[in-house]
């Protein structure tokens, strides 16, 4: 028997203008959990798409269990036992768990579909993972984590012996993560090989046996996890040693700028009260669905049916709509950049000017020259990596897209910035830049609310942390006293 589940030999793949993969070779042992890390654009996704038959290779080959194979279509990949659990889950929401698992492959009985067998097989698969999930539940009623489990069952139903997981943890809460980890252990125990892609390095250290680092389309190294530490791994990923990951600076905390009293929204927010000061970075911790984003949207005038009192710089402020909030100096950097923060088809300069047309207008008309110069001002100030201001933002990396959104609010002269998940899906190098940018802004006297599910980030950047659970504020911690354990305690109380 071959020792390797998968050997990747000299794979290269080019797209117009980019060499996405450049002579990549490494081996994946049978039954191991193999971490795959690298910054955005390092070539992880391309490699996954090649393995799963979405893209073809320009050069190079694979060996599956010691046998050379070609994978030309996703179906072939599945038949060879390679399954992918995608970041964006691909399930039919209106069907049940069992139907989704065997989608397109119903068991034929005498009278149409053999539902009993379908259900039994689904239960078998779910049991293999040693968790509980109702096979008759509609997928639309499931949480993201449960949907992932359905995807994993689906992969197992194809007799997959290699499962590729693309950022499975990105949208999971801490508790759900525990479940995912236990499932992964179960899979490993059943000698299934897992390729695990994640931006969260702590998971790699916790779960992986071996880790492969890609950078700029090149294979940098493949190492047993116990031979590498966090700092080393990061430096291999970015190709240089980073300074402090969290560049927290001491900023003088000023007067209150935003006082929120008894914010309520039926079934969503209950008596939320807090105060935000000039120069402060105030963190909001909590599980997904705790109401953090809803607090942000309430302050930003984006939702209806909100009651309570808000004082902005000491004056009553009732945000009746978003444009009212914007003109009062509040900016929201939403959690989903692509869906909520940017118009992807528009250029960098158009996105930057979008929240403040006045800044590029002379009486009636938009002035292209003004727009250009404002865009360049922020491209320079925020170090946005783009060939020019006319580049459509969809072509920028996640970190640079996030900077464009920040630039939009700086151009709108926002004094209060609400940043929801500031670094989700952003690679390590760009993360540090975003943190440092946030500190700069605090230093300049802006007040920042930072919502995050990333605990180290909350602890590393915030001056103070509010913890939410079920629409209520359940705890408040100063930076000095805050620990992951304390936050979690408040978050699940």
């Amino acid at each position: 028997m071959a020792e390797y589940a998968l050997r990747i030999n000299n794979i290269s793949k080019s797209f117009p203008g980019v060499k996405a993969l450049d002579d990549v070779s490494f081996d994946i042992k049978k039954g191991e959990l193999h971490g795959l890390v690298g910054e955005n654009g390092a070539g992880k996704s391309t490699l996954i798409k090649i393995l799963s038959g979405v893209y073809s290779t320009d050069l190079g080959s694979f060996e599956l269990n010691g046998v050379p194979v070609t994978v030309d279509t996703p179906l072939e990949a599945q038949q060879l036992g390679i399954s992918v659990v995608h970041q964006e889950l691909k399930l039919v929401e209106s069907l049940t768990v069992k139907e989704n698992i065997f989608l397109g492959r119903p068991f034929k009985g005498k009278m149409g579909i053999d539902w009993q067998k379908l259900r039994d097989e689904a239960v078998n698969l779910i049991n293999r993972l040693n968790i509980s999930l109702d096979p008759d539940e509609l997928v639309s009623n499931l949480s993201v984590a449960q949907k992932q489990i359905v995807e994993i069952c689906k992969a197992l139903s194809y007799n997959a012996d290699i499962i590729i997981m693309d950022e499975p943890s990105a949208t999971l809460t801490e508790k759900e993560l525990e479940t995912l980890f236990s499932i992964l252990h179960e899979l490993k125990a059943q000698n299934i090989t897992i390729i695990y892609i994640s931006h969260r390095l702590e998971e790699i250290f916790k779960l992986a046996d071996t880790v492969t680092i890609l950078r700029d389309g090149k294979h940098i190294d493949t190492l047993p996890v116990n031979q590498v530490d966090r700092e080393k791994l990061i430096s291999l990923m970015v190709g240089r040693t980073l300074g402090m990951e969290y560049p927290k600076r001491k900023v003088e905390i000023g007067e209150p700028v935003l006082e929120v009293k008894n914010l309520n929204r039926k079934g969503v927010l209950h008596d939320v009260s807090f105060t935000l000061h000039r120069g402060e970075i105030l963190g909001f911790a909590g599980l997904v669905g705790a109401g953090r984003t809803e607090v942000a949207r309430a302050i930003f005038g984006a939702d209806r049916g909100v009651t309570g009192e808000i004082l902005l710089n000491g004056k009553t402020y009732s945000p009746k709509n978003v444009s009212f909030a914007v003109s009062n100096g509040i900016g929201l950097i939403p959690e989903d950049r692509k869906e909520q923060g940017l118009v992807l088809d528009m250029m960098v300069k158009e996105n930057i000017s979008m929240a403040n047309f006045k800044s590029i207008m002379s009486s009636v008309f938009l002035m292209p020259k003004k727009e250009e110069s404002i865009a360049h001002k922020f491209i320079d100030a925020l170090h946005i990596a783009t060939p020019d201001a006319e580049r459509q933002v969809k072509y920028l990396s996640g970190g640079n897209q996030q900077k464009v959104v920040i630039g939009k609010w700086l151009n709108a002269e926002s004094d209060i910035l609400i940043i929801d998940e500031p670094t989700r899906g952003i690679d390590v190098g760009a993360k540090a830049e975003i943190y440092s940018l946030m500190c700069d802004l605090a230093e300049e006297g802006k007040a920042i609310i930072m919502i995050s599910s990333d605990m180290p980030e909350l602890l590393g950047v915030c001056d103070r942390i509010m913890v939410m659970h079920d629409g209520r504020i359940t705890g408040e911690l100063m930076a000095e006293e805050a620990t992951q354990e304390k936050i979690l305690e408040y978050a699940i109380m």
């Binding site: 930003f300 978003v322 914007v326 869906e339 909520q340 088809d345 528009m346 047309f357 008309f365 020019d388």
Partner: protein
């Protein structure tokens, strides 16, 4: 020294690249120009009558009313909507214009104003149904299309309204300053297109339309009043439909209850083959206008080579499906990269 030379060189090439990029972007925006030119060449060869000033003036005048609709459709579609009631609006407003003058003895100027207001009203209803009540644009305007057309038949008994005062005949049949190559409708299209182009490219409203069509959520969360922007675009189309309807009435010297029948189809086709994306957020006014011209040339060419009107309709349908297919194909291709 070496560094300064390289720096100079990069700057030079960056400028060259900038100009190239601009040219490339121009042809990306207006790739329909190729299609128009190819069609002109083919038709010139196929029919000796095609390539003459007189024929072109004729074509432009024929498409002018649809071109006006296309300009309005441009804003609605770039904003992420669609309005298939505009053809019926043409019919209704054309008839109203005639009735105001013929049945109520109104002076053409107040009749004109009232008719435009009727178009504005229909646009407001469309926009409100779509944005405030959340009815899919296709369905909402399918409803108003039927209401408008039905109402037109009710008030006219399906008979044309004739007896239009001679003083408004210039609108459909006259020439600006008596110039044989510049019919009034063509002149009006040109003026409207220039205004629309500047509105689209250089005003807050225009930019907002692109943003709302590109990503309504992001536009809303940037402080753009997305619903208001969309309503205004439907209103603009309603008003433009009224202008189109009045030109039609003037041209035919009567208010025709069947006026504008299927013109919504022509306007959507023109916009789509002119590069306006059916998913919103992309397109150019002059692109859409070229789309209308292409449709006009195609119709004219098919007539010149002796094709009957029924197969012509089939050809136009094929053109629409191909254009949308191409649009979807290029969207998919882009999102894959």
């Amino acid at each position: 020294m070496a560094t300064s030379r390289t720096a100079g060189k990069t700057r030079g090439s960056a400028q060259g690249a900038g100009a190239l990029r601009r040219i490339k972007r121009f042809f990306d925006d207006y790739s329909i120009i190729y299609a128009v030119l190819i069609l002109i060449v083919i038709l010139s060869i196929a029919s000796p009558d095609f390539l003459s000033l007189k024929n072109f003036t004729n074509v432009f005048r024929q498409i002018s009313m649809i071109a006006i609709l296309t300009i309005g459709m441009f804003f609605v579609m770039v904003g992420g909507g669609i309005d298939i009631s505009c053809g019926a609006t043409v019919g209704l407003t054309g008839v109203l214009f005639a009735m105001f003058m013929v049945n109520y003895g109104m002076h053409p100027v107040p009749a004109f104003i009232l008719t435009v207001l009727a178009g504005v009203l229909i646009g407001t209803i469309n926009g409100t149904l779509v944005t405030r009540f959340g009815i899919p644009a296709m369905i909402a305007t399918l409803g108003t299309q039927s209401i408008s057309r039905g109402f037109t038949y009710v008030i006219t008994g399906a008979y044309p309204i004739s007896g239009i005062p001679e003083s408004v005949s210039f609108l459909g049949r006259g020439y600006v300053l008596g110039l044989e190559w510049l019919p009034w409708p063509v002149f009006i299209v040109a003026i409207l297109a220039i205004i629309a182009h500047y509105m689209a490219q250089r005003t807050r409203f225009g930019r907002s339309v692109y943003a709302v069509g590109g990503n309504p959520e992001a536009a809303y969360l940037s402080g753009i009043k997305d619903k208001r922007i969309q309503i205004i675009s439907y209103i603009a189309l309603g008003a433009l439909s009224a202008i189109s309807g009045m030109i039609l009435t003037s041209r035919l010297a009567s208010g025709q209850p069947n006026g504008g029948l299927t013109w919504e189809f022509e306007a959507v086709t023109a916009a789509v083959i002119g590069g306006v994306s059916i998913t919103g957020g992309r397109g150019r006014v002059f692109g859409a206008l070229l789309g209308a011209i292409l449709i006009g040339l195609l119709t004219n060419g098919m007539t010149l080579i002796g094709m009957e009107s029924y197969p012509q309709q089939m050809v136009k349908g094929i053109v629409l499906v191909l254009a949308i297919g191409f649009d979807i194909y290029s969207i998919n291709k882009k999102s894959k990269n």
